[in-house]
């Protein structure tokens, strides 16, 4: 789960890390009020979940409250990569002496959280790591023991910092590390972390991502920062197909179906599974010149109604005349149940199953029963002797072969 900047700043603040006296405004009038309260030059920043807002004109500098109001009005109307802002953040323009970078994220290879710190903040950390490796400090943390301040101190010290800078930056990195663990963040980043002219450190921007699997156990803190759990936080707007498949999936707890069509523009309807099988089959269709209309996953033995629902949604997509029903060998999902589902989908839409199902390749549990049902409707059943690649090739040929 991604957070808007104003939420991330709140999370950081609650963890005891100093932030500016920023304000969040949903309207231009609120932005003016915030600027008046701050009293002085301010920065107005668009609140969207995507990056690139500086380039898109989503960040403006205003010297007066009137200017802040005008800028906010413009930014609130400005779409960034197709996203409308949920508001603007009004931030005092800080007297920055130096910018730093602080982050804590998972190192999957070490299977531990890793602290990252740099005295070259404000820019892309990957670029700093590549060009100025001595300016990036790193340190792993144990998952089992309390997080000690000295580990953070070592990382800050690694980039050559000492004196009061070291002593002020250390607790910030340590608190960020505790925040990452306590709130199940996959990424907890402050960039830039700024040292102001009076020597104090303050988080000028923050980026937080909470692991979706853990959201349920953080309802309290999410409530405190005013996050609506029902509000979608996808990086793109789900399509009608995606919403419909999700609704069908949620209506029935048996098995799982997923469907995506963002980025797919082809005409081969895919009713495929399971996780790894879907990835393999999508590649196999594309590698043989096929253009999938969608991506799908069937798993965990869904009901007839659920399989039917997925097949119907795929068949309702524009330009889709035929579906390819394919899975890797199944041991839990039943072949006969998927067969019943896809045949029922064809019939309900007034289509001939034998014409509509370009290929059916699901070997495994209850395959004899599945083959019998398919046979009644004149559909060939492909068992494990037909490779996933060949099944995908048949689908490509049957759908696109004539064109």
């Amino acid at each position: 789960m991604r957070f808007y900047e104003y939420e991330s700043r709140k999370i950081v603040e609650l963890a005891g890390i100093p932030v500016t006296q920023y304000g969040f405004a949903k309207t231009a009038a609120e932005a003016r009020d915030a600027a008046e309260r701050i009293g002085g030059p301010v920065v107005i920043k668009s609140q969207v979940l995507v990056g690139g807002r500086m380039k898109a004109g989503g960040v403006k500098f205003a010297d007066t409250a009137e200017q802040a109001e005008r800028d906010a009005a413009e930014i609130l109307e400005l779409e960034i990569s197709g996203h409308r802002p949920v508001g603007v953040l009004v931030d005092p323009k800080a007297e920055v002496e130096q910018e730093y970078y602080a982050a804590v994220l998972w190192d999957g290879r070490a299977k531990r959280p890793m602290m990252l710190f740099s005295d070259m903040g404000g820019i892309d950390i990957e670029e700093v790591a590549e060009k100025h490796p001595a300016h990036v400090g790193r340190g792993h943390l144990s998952n089992l023991h309390p997080i000690p301040d000295f580990r953070a101190k070592e990382v800050v010290s690694d980039v050559g910092m000492t004196g009061s800078e070291l002593n002020r930056a250390t607790p910030i990195l340590a608190r960020l590390a505790r925040l990452q663990r306590d709130h199940d963040m996959t990424l907890a980043e402050i960039n830039p972390l700024a040292r102001l002219s009076d020597g104090s450190f303050v988080a000028l921007d923050a980026h937080m991502e909470m692991e979706d699997e853990a959201v349920g156990r953080h309802k309290k803190v999410l409530g405190e920062i005013g996050v609506e759990l029902e509000e979608p936080r996808e990086l793109y707007e789900p399509s009608a197909f995606e919403r419909n498949v999700k609704a069908i999936d949620e209506a029935d707890h048996r098995g799982v179906i997923q469907g995506k069509d963002h980025g797919f523009e082809g005409n081969i309807g895919l009713v495929i599974g399971a996780g790894g099988g879907s990835l393999t089959l999508t590649d196999a269709v594309r590698s043989q010149g096929g253009k999938p209309a969608n991506y799908a996953e069937i798993g965990g033995n869904p009901s007839v109604a659920k399989s039917k629902g997925l097949a119907m949604e795929v068949l309702k997509k524009e330009g889709v005349e035929k579906i390819a029903v394919m899975m890797s060998i199944v041991s839990n999902t039943r072949v006969d149940i998927v067969a019943r589902g896809v045949i029922a989908a064809c019939l309900e839409l007034g289509k001939d199953p034998a014409e509509t199902i370009a290929v059916f390749r699901i070997p495994g549990a209850w395959e004899e029963e599945g083959a019998k049902i398919l046979g009644k409707y004149g559909i060939d059943f492909n068992d494990r002797s037909v490779s996933m690649w060949d099944a995908a090739g048949t689908a490509v040929q049957k759908v696109q072969g004539a064109s």
């Binding site: 998972w106 790894g276 041991s331």
Partner: protein, 305 residues
Amino acid sequence: VSILLNEDFTFIVQGITGREAVNLTRECLDYGSKVVGGVTPGRKGREVHGVPVFDTVAQAVAEHGSPIDGSVVTVPPAFTKDAVVEAIENGIGLIVVVTERIPRRDVAEMVELAGERGARIIGPNCLGVIVPGVCKMGGIGGPAKDAAKAYKPGQVGVMSRSGGMTTEISSTLTAAGLGVSTACSIGGDAIIGSTYAELMPLFEQDEQTEAIVIYTEPGGRMEAELVDWRRESGSKLPIVAFMAGKFMDDEEMQGMSFGHAGTIVEGAEDSATQKIARLEEAGIPVVERIDEIPAAVKQKLGAAA
């Protein structure tokens, strides 16, 4: 012989009274596995397909009268960490975690504890381990007769991030007359108990295993770790790889997630293209089709002979 399991291997099922666990227990018993107990808190005294159910792992161990080798953990995500820790603290050495959607922090904690206690975790989000004709630990391969059809004893070790593809690949190897020594569904999450590189030393020491097949996906650094291990150890055990999810490299797919939790690409090094290049550079061929795997393995075996 084989790795991880053998004829005398004993295990329990934690969460044994759940619907999926009841099926899994039946499948394992039918296959000939020694399921010596089950644990579901509050259900002591019941039986699942003749297997006694206990409230605690300690009771199961006491009743068995000697150490128990393994546990299959299939409890809801919120209770998984505790169940795994309970298994570790009761001396169980091999823990297969079936549960999906466990927060990464919980997985990292139990994996670190297992490391300190000398236990091994397979998974989470996996189907388990099978030594064809000997022992099946978990839902891998499905019902005993289906598992027998897809998995015949042989010389190839299989490691896969996808449970279903473990069976698809093994079935292909079986059909080609190569067969499988041990197949391990290692799990699809971003952090897992045993990676390719962590299982390779076991396969390396196994006399039955003459080649390895891995199934992999975009996301994570496990292939880089495997390549590093191979270089550092000097291992000559041939490896053939299959990479799924190449379409995710396309620009229009950026920022989207498909498949497993671990499939999320978090950096350029995680992409399918990068991984394929890295593996091939290390002398690990990456085939484009599952049905090309047996020929690639045979070619490697021929070259080694």
